[in-house]
């Protein structure tokens, strides 16, 4: 397994986690996109090392990269793409209402905390 890729996954995850714990919805969306990259890469790495593109050309399958995680990763890319766009639309709507894209505290939870303290 490639250390370079391992560090990439770790780095993307860290930055992604840092961003999604932010208060700004646009930063959270960035974080989600990065976490999506990290998971796609992790999926790809779990299939084995880099290799030739798995396209049969009559010369046999020696040296092919594992096609299975690629097929799964393709779906993952598309789904995280959809999620990112939808979150963007939500952020844009939030801006219309509050003038900003800040994520506020859960109102119900805050109320509970206030009552009980």
């Amino acid at each position: 397994m490639s250390i370079a890729l391992l560090l990439t996954v770790g780095g993307l995850t860290s930055v992604g986690l840092y961003l999604i714990t932010s208060r700004s919805l646009s930063r959270i969306i960035l974080g989600f996109a990065l976490l999506g990259h990290a998971s796609v890469l992790a999926l790809l790495m779990s299939g084995g090392p880099a290799g030739r593109a798995p396209i049969a050309d009559g010369s046999g399958s020696d040296g092919f990269a594992n096609p299975l995680p690629q097929a799964l990763a393709l779906t993952a890319i598309v789904i995280s793409f959809g999620l990112t766009l939808f979150l963007l639309a939500l952020a844009s709507r939030q801006k219309d209402h509050t003038g900003d894209d800040l994520v506020e505290d859960d109102i119900e939870d805050s109320r509970i905390a206030e009552v009980k303290q």
């Binding site: 370079a4 860290s14 092919f64 639309a89």
Partner: protein, 757 residues
Amino acid sequence: MQQVIWTLLGAHVAGVVLAAIAGFRSIRAGLAVAAFAPTITAIWAIWLFVSQDGLAGADGPPTSELVWVEGLDLAFRMQVDSLALLMTLLVSGIGALVFIYAIGYFAPDAAGGATFPPTLLAFSASMLGLVWSDSIWTLFIFWEATSITSFLLVGHKNSDANVQTAARRALMITGVGGLVLLAGLIILAQDVGSSTLTNLAAAEGSRATLAAILVMIGAATKSAQVPFHVWLPGAMAAPTPVSAYLHSATMVKAGVLLVAVMGTTFADVQAWKVLGLAFGIASMIWGGVGALRHVDAKLILAWGTISQLGLLITLLALGTGKAVFAATSILFAHAIFKAGLFLIVGEVDIRTGTRDIRKLGGLAKSMPITFAVALLSGLSMAGAPPLLGFPAKEAAIEAVLGLSGWEQIIGVVSVVGGAVLTVAYTTRFLIGVFGAGPDTIVKPRRLAMTIPAVVLGFLSVAGFAALGLVNDIVRPAAIELNAKSEVYGLVRWPGIKTAFVVSMAVLIVGFALGVGAAARKVASAPNATGADAADGLIDGILSNTPRFIAVVQHGSLPVYLATMTAAVAVAGIAFTDQVSLSHLQLWDTPLQGVLAAGIVAAAAAGAAVRSRLGATLTLGATGIGMSGIFIIHGAPDLALTQLLVEIIVVVGFVLGLGQLANQFPTVDNAWRATRLAVATLGGLAVMAGLAASSANPSGVAPIEDLTAGAVNDGGGNNVVNVILTDVRALDTLGEVVVLATVAIGILALANTRRAEA
């Protein structure tokens, strides 16, 4: 015979539903309806005993199994073996009598007609389920169900604060005990690799010790063993039919039953025996002392129950064939005489208006039938011939005499001591309730109350007379628990042997002690320190819980996320020893290393930069870097897709966030250091997990098969595409649906904006 189990359980459930939805105004009508299921179950059990084949018939014991998750060994599994059948006889037989009794106990206009009968029947069903369970998970579910129904029944009189406190105490102690039990059962099932109770393998080692301790504590809470006994006297606030049924004959026996069933599994675990003896002996003695100090006849019996349960736990913890046989016999005898005595106390209570032995007097003359029945049941409890309790207690004394070493000393001293106390409090009970005193005014008899008590009193005599039949009931159950029980039997006349002499001495000493205690009619009841301490603890937990919730459930979503990330990362530490670095190489190609560095740098820049546009551009850079990685990895389809996606996302960011301020708000700076730390921890955890998982590959990737399949069956050369369109066609369809949904969602959001504008 599989249908039998479902039919009988179904009859109970149907009864519960019927009694609940019918909503009888009269509690008596509800009880009459509810009595049906226990009655047919009892008849079935009796029929099995008297019929020649019994359980050993052609089909073997009735079993039933509903598998839920095969791989996880999760199944609803039941088996009516000899021990279960013995318990069925008690649960349903005494149950049916208690239902009839309750019809007399409650006034015709008593409240609770819609709730009490179905709850009592629900308890019956739970208890049956518990004794029939053959899987420790099934057993646990019914175990908890009995705790809950017991809580509801104790708290039947819901207008009285003291009753509610007592019910809550019972629920909390048995409930927490149930959780301790669950922990023990999980450890045990992991250790022996099975959850089927029949033939559960023997466990040993440190994990087995831990499991044994937890299971024993769980059993002790249910069977009201010192120091968890404090809930049982409080539970006497329940209507007397409930006390007779749940808190003497059946539910409190659940712990005993569990200790019995687990006996062979934990036979080699020293802690099991030591803890069991400690609980058992302490309860036997302290319960007996408590019974001598109370003036409420019902409390005398409750403390006596604690003592008797202690005797059972002690014998089962000793675990020899004879001890197990004695325990099984006493279990049977105790349920009959103790339930009978409770029914009598209830009758005395209803007909005289008091249970205080200082106020009762002359009942031997004014309630002769009740007195006769009390005498029979009481003498059986004391272990006097010619009643069922005598041979059972005789077996117990023989069992401890037959031990050796320190076990013999401890066993004999405690069992004889407990027996003396039992005779003493029985004597005091009989003299106190029925002996001389102020003449109590007695109301007329209610037949429905008298008959069940008479039946139970008669059974104590009949059991002694037909000792062979009792042996046939008890012995197979004891053999199931310990094969060495086979050679033992209950005997009517043991002959002049040590055990008999001891037992006669016990009767004489205990009687003298009891007469002395009865003469002192002062209330020297132990103050309720234990119960108060338990209530104080519960109150403390309840009042501090809101404060805890306020801290944990504060409402900040980012903090929730950070907490979860940190928790998962920390939990991963346990698996770090599986991480191996030997299979790692620096990179697949040097270019990969360059791209990797670029991606991480772009991502980090995106987090650091203050400008929204800048962040968006770094995201684009990251995505393009990812495409490069994909090309190197041999995944051109991914690279192409990523590139297209990235372009659209960047455009989307510019469009969607265009109207927002150019700079990110500064609210995030408050706890940046913590966020950084948690994020780093999370990244490390993912890396460790990935390194660990790739170090343990299972098998070789079937690349050749996939390629051949794609070409020959899929008719395509691009293997990835064939997998997507052929193998994962439905998934791909789902993906399309997701995208369509997103598109519709975005459109709807955009339209509302237009409408508002």
